[in-house]
């Protein structure tokens, strides 16, 4: 039995001093589990307002003075200290390959249960943490319960919709001890932030338009539809292997895993590697010239047709319906 007042730590990601979309989702999910505290790694936020609005009672700022202090093992050690100091029994992180490494180290250090890529998180009647996860390219749904008193959970983006709390949190900023390099043997030779695109981030966007081999390298119809929908552009493995799009927009089980409210696949066949990264999406729409493409087997709406014709027409109609044309 967990004391209902144990805080929940939400490790919020940020960019240019502002929280990422996933940060507000984590706070929304976290405050359903208990008093939610944001953990902010790096220089303090420009404005704690959005964190307060989404229910953060406290914002723990953990300075990261050197690149080595930002490595997963170092961050995990800092989080373990914070969990200990606050008595938190749940730590939430936004799913991603780096976050999973932090989560694994943290669970290892604290003896916590580890639940990754959750699409929902709740407490059962006894206060245990229960998560929902998708498996086998989202063809199965699992519910799992933590068997120990503390849980580290990574939550998929778009798993919950960020909504402001009825009562905003105080978002009291507390500066914690800085993260320290956990392993003196590992040296960061170079760390480069990849330039952000003007469009929403593919891993976070609630609408994603993915182009596959059927684009033959011409992404202008895909980009046009993404812009009409205010969404992100993604690509299949074939496309990034061809160099038509950069690797970081590759959607699939070894690339970005997405679960947007709306997924549109254009010229995407729907091979299992790709499905593993997108099949948990809310609504799936497919456009492909091949009526036998596997993607039509799991699409909510499919158009057998040429994407170069269908996408521009759809984009124009969407702009008209939205009164933008």
């Amino acid at each position: 039995m967990t004391a209902p007042t144990a805080p929940v730590l939400a490790v919020v990601e940020h960019h240019d001093g502002r929280p990422r979309a996933s940060a507000l989702e984590l706070l929304t999910a976290g405050r359903a589990l208990g008093p939610v505290h944001a953990v902010w790694l790096g220089d303090p936020p420009d404005d704690a307002g959005p964190l307060a609005a989404h229910g953060a009672a406290v914002v723990h700022v953990v300075p990261v003075p050197t690149p080595e202090a930002g490595l997963p093992a170092s961050v995990a050690a800092a989080l373990a200290g914070l969990a200990e100091a606050t008595g938190a029994d749940v730590v939430l992180l936004a799913s991603g390959f780096g976050a999973k490494e932090v989560a694994a180290r943290l669970a290892h250090a604290t003896g916590a249960a580890l639940m990754v890529d959750a699409s929902a998180v709740e407490r059962d009647g006894e206060g245990r943490v229960v998560t929902t996860q998708q498996a086998f390219a989202a063809s199965w749904t699992l519910r799992s319960a933590a068997q120990v008193g503390r849980a580290v959970v990574t939550l998929r983006s778009n798993a919950v919709r960020a909504t402001p709390a009825e009562t905003p949190g105080a978002a009291e900023v507390r500066v914690a001890a800085p993260a320290r390099p956990a392993d003196p043997r590992v040296r960061v030779v170079e760390r480069t932030a990849r330039p952000a695109s003007d469009r929403p981030d593919v891993g976070e966007a609630d609408v994603v338009v993915v182009g596959g081999r059927g684009t033959q390298g011409d992404f202008s119809p895909v980009e046009d539809l993404a812009d009409a929908l205010g969404g992100a552009v993604g690509a299949t493995r074939d496309v990034t292997d061809e160099g038509w799009q950069p690797h970081d927009v590759m959607v699939g089980q070894t690339g970005v895993t997405i679960s947007p409210r709306l997924y549109v696949g254009a010229g995407v066949s729907g091979a299992v590697h790709h499905r593993g990264g997108m099949q948990a999406s809310g609504t799936i729409v497919a456009v492909n010239t091949d009526p036998d493409a596997p993607i039509f087997e799991f699409a909510d709406f499919g158009v057998v047709g040429d994407l170069a014709e269908v996408l521009p027409q759809a984009a124009a109609e969407i702009r008209r319906l939205r009164g933008q044309a």
């Binding site: 199965w140 319960a145 040296r187 709306l262 996408l311 109609e317």
Partner: protein, 262 residues
């Protein structure tokens, strides 16, 4: 250089993958194969040893069928292989798996130190991607995970890794643990000589007792999470139309009707 490559036998992606009634991956009723992402790990290890000399040892944990995974690694060119199995391991979580693999790596160091442990980036059944991290923690090795590029020179391993928003180059002295992504290399197909050698190879089997591990610390009873329920997702009941000139407008109408343009 002595390299241990950890590999896993997983249900074939093309098969009808499912869970058993007690919420475990069904490994018996579904065809299995070497986890495809582990082929990149084997390939990375082979290239390092081909350049610098040494041996590659393939290590797996799992029931009898899992021998296929290390046998595939032998076909590709691994020099020898070991399999850890024990009835008590059924239902083990990632923590127990990492503890067992760590104990096996330590035992493999009995006849000479292990310089590098290499794994794939994830197993395509669970897709948790956490065992490499946990294994590095257990072995107290520098962790250089998700390598899209990997090199070893003068006893120092260097990797390039692409995370969600940053690219990093990391370096650490050997011994170390590395996981490689599917961008790191193109895995080779086994050659005829490799297939013949793998057929003759003996794969020793180690139990928990051989590794000095307590059966109570592994398996389903020790797992930190328990599956309450596993259910197949009902198929989507979709509509497929053929474009006759208004396919784009009908697509837009579908989105509007379903509140997706809000």
């Amino acid at each position: 250089m002595k390299i241990v490559v950890c590999v896993k036998h997983v249900p074939d992606l093309q098969a009808d993958r499912r869970f058993t009634d007690d919420g475990r991956v069904d490994r018996e009723g579904v065809d299995g194969t070497l986890n495809e992402l582990d082929e990149n790990a084997v390939e990375a290890a082979l290239r390092l040893v081909e350049a610098a000399g040494g041996e590659v040892i393939a290590l797996t944990m799992g029931p009898d069928d899992a021998e296929d995974a290390v046998r595939r690694a032998l076909q590709m060119g691994a020099h020898r292989a070991v399999r850890v199995t024990d009835d008590a391991l059924a239902g083990s979580d990632a923590f127990a798996t990492a503890a067992v693999l760590a104990a096996a790596v330590r035992r493999l160091a009995d006849d000479g130190p292990v310089d590098l442990v290499v794994t794939g980036m994830a197993a395509l059944d669970g897709l948790m991607s956490v065992v490499p991290t946990l294994l590095a923690a257990h072995l107290d090795l520098p962790q250089l995970t998700l390598a899209a590029e990997l090199s070893v020179a003068d006893g120092v391993v260097r990797v390039r890794r692409d995370l969600d928003h940053v690219t990093e180059v990391l370096e650490a002295p050997l011994p170390a643990l590395v996981s490689v992504t599917d961008q790191a290399n193109e895995a080779r197909y086994p050659a005829f000589a490799g297939i013949m050698a793998a057929r003759k190879a003996q794969v020793p089997v180690w139990s928990l007792a051989d590794l000095g591990l307590d059966p109570a610390a592994v398996g389903g009873a020790a797992a930190r999470t328990r599956v309450l329920e596993a259910s197949p997702r009902p198929p989507r009941e979709g509509v497929v139309i053929t474009d006759t000139g208004d396919g784009g407008r009908r697509l837009a109408a579908f989105l509007a009707e379903n509140g997706l343009l809000a």
